[in-house]
C-alpha cells in the first residue's frame, strides 16, 4: 500500500499523482467498476472507508471520501491517496477546509472514473433530498442510512417524500437476510396467514421496513412491536392452524417454529457494514421493491402510529 499526501493541492495534481502511482506499480489500474463517493466527517471516516475498501475486493473501485473540516477556515484542499498493491482499487481522502466544503462536487467531479457508475454514500447524516444534493445528483445510486439518524422512523418518512429512483437505504439492506428467510419459509405449503408481527428494539428502521414489506406483499395486517433487541428478534404469522414463528434472540441464530412440526435452527447473522455496502454495490439499478415498501410505510405511518399508541396505553 502506497500512501501519497498532498497538501494545499488541486484535482489536477491529484490526478497526476494517481497516474504516477499506478505506473510505478506496473500498469494502469484497469477494470475498476465504479466510483464510490463517501460523504462523511473526520470522526466517522475511518469505519466507512474501511468498509468500502473491504467491499472493494468484490467491486474494485475508486473510493473518494469527502471530508469537510473547519468551515470557518480559509479554503484549502488536502488529499491523501492510497493505492494498494494487495487490494484492487484506489482510495482518495479529500479534506476540504473553509468555503470549499460547500463546493465539494467541484472537487469530486474531475476525479470520477469515466464510463463507470457513481455511487454516493452518506454513512451518517444525509441531505434532506439526496437526489438533489450536488454530490448525490452525479450518482446513479444514493445510499443513506436511516439507522444513523437520531429519529430513524422520521428519517424514513422524509426519505419516502424525497424518493427518486436510485435511492436506497442501508436499513433496507439489513432486511435482506430476514426477507429471504421468510420467503423461503413461505415457499413451503402453509395455511392461510391471518396476521403478522415484527418484534424489534425500539427505533429500528429495518423492522419498520420489514413490517411494511410483509403487509404490502401478503395483504395482511402486520404489527410492529418492541422488544429488547438486539435488532429484530421475532417475526410471527398467525394462522388458523397455529403460529409460524421465526425467533432470533441473540442476533446470530434463528429458530423456526411451526405449529405441529419440530423446531429448526437457521443461521441468521446481523451483518457488518462491509457486507451491507457490498450488497448495495452489487446491483445499481433502481430498487423498485424498496420504493414500494417505503411508500407503503409512509402511507401506513399514521395508522401504525395509532396502533402503537393504543398499545402503549394498554400497558
Amino acid at each position: 500500500m502506497a500512501t501519497i499526501d498532498l497538501t494545499e493541492t488541486s484535482t489536477s495534481a491529484i490526478s497526476a499523482a494517481l497516474t504516477q502511482a499506478r505506473r510505478s506499480m506496473g500498469g494502469p489500474a484497469m477494470g475498476m467498476v465504479l466510483t464510490l463517493i463517501i460523504v462523511t466527517n473526520e470522526a466517522e471516516q475511518y469505519d466507512a472507508v474501511r468498509a468500502a475498501t473491504h467491499a472493494g475486493r468484490e467491486h474494485p473501485s475508486r473510493t473518494i471520501a469527502v471530508i469537510t473540516r473547519r468551515p470557518q477556515a480559509d479554503s484549502r484542499l488536502d488529499a491523501e491517496i492510497r493505492v494498494g498493491e494487495s487490494s484492487p482499487g484506489e482510495t482518495l481522502l479529500l479534506r476540504m477546509y473553509g468555503p470549499l466544503g460547500q463546493h465539494a462536487d467541484s472537487v469530486a467531479a474531475p476525479l470520477l472514473i469515466p464510463d463507470v457508475p457513481v455511487v454516493t454514500w452518506w454513512p451518517d447524516a444525509a441531505p434532506p433530498v439526496p437526489a438533489k444534493d450536488p454530490l448525490g445528483s452525479v450518482a446513479q445510486r444514493r445510499v443513506t442510512d436511516a439507522a444513523a439518524a437520531d429519529a430513524p422512523r422520521d428519517m424514513l418518512l422524509a426519505l419516502a417524500r424525497a424518493y427518486q429512483p436510485g435511492d436506497t437505504d442501508l436499513s433496507w439492506t439489513r432486511a435482506t437476510p430476514w426477507r429471504s428467510l421468510l420467503a423461503a419459509v413461505l415457499d413451503q405449503r402453509h395455511p392461510e396467514l391471518d396476521s403478522g408481527q415484527v418484534l424489534a428494539e425500539p427505533a429500528n428502521p429495518t423492522a419498520d421496513l420489514l413490517a411494511a414489506w410483509l403487509e404490502l406483499r401478503l395483504g395482511i395486517p402486520v404489527q410492529r412491536r418492541e422488544s429488547a433487541g438486539p435488532g429484530i428478534t421475532e417475526v410471527r404469522f398467525d394462522t388458523s392452524e397455529g403460529t409460524i414463528m421465526v425467533c432470533r434472540p441473540d442476533g446470530r441464530t434463528a429458530t423456526l417454529s411451526w405449529a405441529g412440526r419440530s423446531d429448526r435452527k437457521v443461521a441468521l447473522h446481523r451483518r457488518e457494514t462491509v457486507e451491507l455496502i457490498a450488497e448495495e454495490l452489487r446491483r445499481l439499478e433502481p430498487d423498485e421493491v424498496y420504493a414500494e415498501t417505503l411508500r407503503a410505510l409512509a402511507a401506513g405511518a399514521g395508522a401504525a402510529d395509532q396502533a402503537a399508541g393504543a398499545e402503549a396505553a394498554d400497558q
Binding site: 421468510l182 420467503a183 415457499d187 413451503q188 435452527k265 443461521a267
Partner: protein
C-alpha cells in the same frame, strides 16, 4: 432417446421443473418478486441424497459446495443431506466426515452457526447397492426427514458412483418407491461424466436411467458449464453488439479450443487407461465449448432454446475427410515438466507397458453452416503439457489490404479474441498498434479484461452453481442426452480409426504436444497458440 423425441410435440416451457405442489407454492409466494434482486434464488425444501459419499468428488467438491450454499443463505431451512455408502458408520461418523470435508475444502469462511444448522439435517445410511434392506432404510430415512424437517417429499439423488453401478442403484430406487413422487414432491437424479465411452454405451446408460426417471428430471453434470467464464461466452456474444457481426467466416480465419493440463494421470490409472484424452475431455468439455462458440443465438435462455442451438451446432460438425492428417494423438513420455522430472505414461503405476491410450488428442473439425463453412475448429487437449490452461481463441483473418510498407507490419500477426476459461479467467483482444517513434511501425498488443479483477472474489465454484440449479430445477446448464449422443457420433469414428491404426506418438512431458499435432497445423499453414 433422440433429439427428435425429446423436442418433438409441444415441449413444456421449462421441462426440468417437475411441477409438484411445493413448486406451485413457490410460484404463488407473494414474497417473491422477479424485480426483487436482493432475495437470492433459494432452493425449495428438499433432501439431497449422495451415493458414493466417501469418494473424492463428494468430499472435495459436493459437501463443501453444500456448505458454501448454506453459508450464502441459498439453502432452505430444513434442507437435509443423506449419505449412502458401504461403510459401517453412524450418523455422527458421517457428520464428522462432512465436517472435515467442509473445513478443508469450503470456499467461504467456516461459521459454527451455519454448520450447526446444516449438521442437524445430516443423515447416513450404510449399505451395499444390492442390499434391499439398506434401500428400504434409506426410504424410511428420507420420509422421516419429510416429517421432521418439512422437506416436502422433494428428493435429489446424486449418483457420484462409477457407471457400472447405475443399473443397480436406479433399480433399487425404483423398487423401494423412492423414484416415484406419486404427485407429492419432485424427484431429480444427477449423473456425472463419463456418459458412456461410446455411442452404444451412452445409449445403454441412458436407457437404464430413462426407464425410471423422465428425461426432464435427469441432470447431467459437466462441471465446465458451471464455470462463470464459460457462461460468460454467452454474455459476451449475445449481450454485446460489437462481437456478433464479426463472429463468422467473413472475419474469422480459424478457431482453437485448448484444454492443457500440466499434471499426469495421478491416481486415475484405473479409469483413464482405455479411455484416453479424447473421451475424457474432447467428448464433453471441448465439444461443449465448441457448441457455445459456434451456435446461433438462442431465442431465449431457457433450457430448451439453449440446448436446441447447441444441438444444432453439434449436429453440423463435420469430421476431416482424412482422419490420418486431420487428427493427432500422443502419449507422454518421461521428461521434465515445470522443473520436475516426471515418469512417462507407460511407467505410471497401474498402466500396462503396452498401453495404446492417448494422453494427448487434437482434431480438426468443420461446421457445415452458413456462418462457419470453411472455418476450421482445432481442438486439442493433453496431459503433462507446458502449463495448465483452457481457452477458446478466435483467430481473425489478416486485413485484406495493408496500406503500409511491408517492413512496417513485419511484426503484425493476426488479430485474436481469446476467452480464457482457466486459470486467470478473462478475455484478451490482440490487435496491431503503432510503436511509439517517428517510423510507422505496427506491432501486436494485447487488451485485457481479467475476470478476477473486475469482480474479485464473487465467483462461486462450478459445483455450487450446478448443485443449486439442480435443487431449484433449472436445467439450461446441463447437457441433455441428445448432446451426449451427438458428441459420441463425432468422436466414435475418430476412436475407431485410432484403434485400428496407429500407436500414439510419444512426446516428452513438459512440451506442447507431439510433432504430429504441429504437423497437422503446419499443413494448413497455421500454428498452435503457445501454451
Amino acid at each position: 432417446m433422440t433429439a427428435g423425441a425429446e423436442t418433438g410435440g409441444i415441449a413444456p416451457a421449462n421441462p426440468g421443473v417437475i411441477t409438484g405442489r411445493a413448486e406451485e407454492a413457490r410460484q404463488g409466494n407473494p414474497l417473491r418478486d422477479p424485480r426483487d434482486r436482493r432475495i437470492p434464488r433459494v432452493a425449495g425444501p428438499c433432501v439431497l441424497v449422495i451415493f458414493g459419499v466417501t469418494g473424492d468428488l463428494a468430499r472435495k467438491k459436493l459437501m463443501p459446495a453444500v456448505y458454501d450454499l448454506a453459508n450464502r443463505g441459498l439453502l432452505p431451512p430444513g434442507f437435509s443431506l443423506v449419505g449412502f455408502a458401504r461403510r459401517d458408520w453412524e450418523h455422527e461418523d458421517f457428520t464428522q466426515v462432512t465436517y472435515q470435508a467442509v473445513k478443508e475444502h469450503a470456499r467461504t469462511p467456516f461459521r459454527d452457526t451455519v454448520w450447526q444448522q446444516l449438521s442437524e439435517g445430516v443423515r447416513f445410511v450404510p449399505g451395499e447397492f444390492d442390499d434391499d434392506a439398506a434401500f428400504d432404510r434409506l426410504a424410511e430415512t428420507v420420509r422421516e426427514l419429510d416429517v421432521e424437517r418439512g422437506t416436502g417429499g422433494n428428493y435429489a439423488f446424486y449418483l457420484s458412483i462409477p457407471p457400472r453401478f447405475f443399473p443397480l442403484v436406479v433399480q433399487q430406487l425404483k423398487r423401494s418407491g423412492l423414484a416415484d413422487g406419486r404427485g407429492r414432491g419432485w424427484r431429480r437424479v444427477v449423473i456425472e461424466k463419463p456418459f458412456g465411452h461410446d455411442l452404444a454405451s451412452a445409449l445403454e446408460l441412458n436407457a437404464i436411467v430413462d426407464a425410471v426417471f423422465p428425461a426432464g428430471s435427469v441432470f447431467r453434470i459437466d462441471h465446465y458449464l458451471g464455470k462463470e467464464t464459460v457462461q460468460n461466452i454467452l454474455a459476451l456474444r449475445f449481450a454485446n453488439e460489437m462481437y456478433e457481426p464479426i463472429w463468422n467466416r467473413g472475419y474469422v480465419d480459424h478457431i482453437q479450443i485448448t484444454m492443457a493440463e500440466d499434471v499426469g494421470i495421478g491416481g486415475r490409472a484405473g479409469y483413464y487407461d482405455g479411455i484416453g484424452a479424447a473421451r475424457d475431455v474432447i467428448q464433453n468439455h471441448l465439444l461443449q465449448l465448441l457448441a457455445l462458440t459456434a451456435m446461433e443465438e438462442p431465442v431465449s435462455f431457457d433450457a430448451d432454446s439453449l440446448r436446441m442451438e447447441k444441438e444444432k451446432a453439434l449436429s453440423a460438425v463435420r469430421l476431416p475427410p482424412d482422419l490420418a492428417t486431420g487428427t493427432a494423438r500422443g502419449q507422454y513420455a518421461a521428461g521434465w515438466q515445470g522443473g520436475i522430472q516426471v515418469p512417462g505414461y507407460l511407467e505410471e503405476e497401474g498402466i500396462p507397458s503396452d498401453s495404446r491410450t492417448e494422453t494427448y488428442a487434437a482434431v480438426k473439425l468443420g461446421i457445415d453452416t452458413r456462418r462457419w463453412a470453411g472455418v476450421p475448429f482445432y481442438l486439442r487437449t493433453g496431459k503433462r503439457m507446458t502449463r495448465r490452461m483452457t481457452e477458446v481463441a478466435l483467430i481473425f483473418q489478416r486485413a485484406p489490404h495493408l496500406p503500409f510498407a511491408a517492413t512496417d507490419t513485419e511484426e503484425l500477426g493476426q488479430n485474436a479474441l481469446v476467452i480464457r476459461i482457466q486459470p486467470d479467467e478473462g478475455v484478451t483482444v490482440r490487435f496491431g498498434s503503432k510503436v511509439p517513434g517517428t517510423a510507422m511501425e505496427v506491432r501486436d498488443v494485447n487488451m485485457d479484461f481479467a475476470y478476477g479483477q473486475s469482480f474479485t472474489e464473487s465467483s462461486p465454484e462450478a459445483y455450487e452453481r450446478l448443485l443449486l440449479d439442480v435443487l431449484i430445477g433449472d436445467p439450461p446448464l446441463f447437457p441433455r442426452q441428445a448432446e451426449v449422443e451427438l458428441s459420441w457420433r463425432i468422436l466414435d469414428p475418430i476412436e475407431e480409426f485410432w484403434a485400428s491404426y496407429t500407436k500414439p506418438e510419444q512426446y516428452p512431458a513438459g512440451i506442447a504436444g507431439p510433432a504430429s499435432a504441429d504437423a497437422l497445423m503446419a499443413r494448413d499453414g497455421r500454428t498452435w497458440r503457445r501454451l
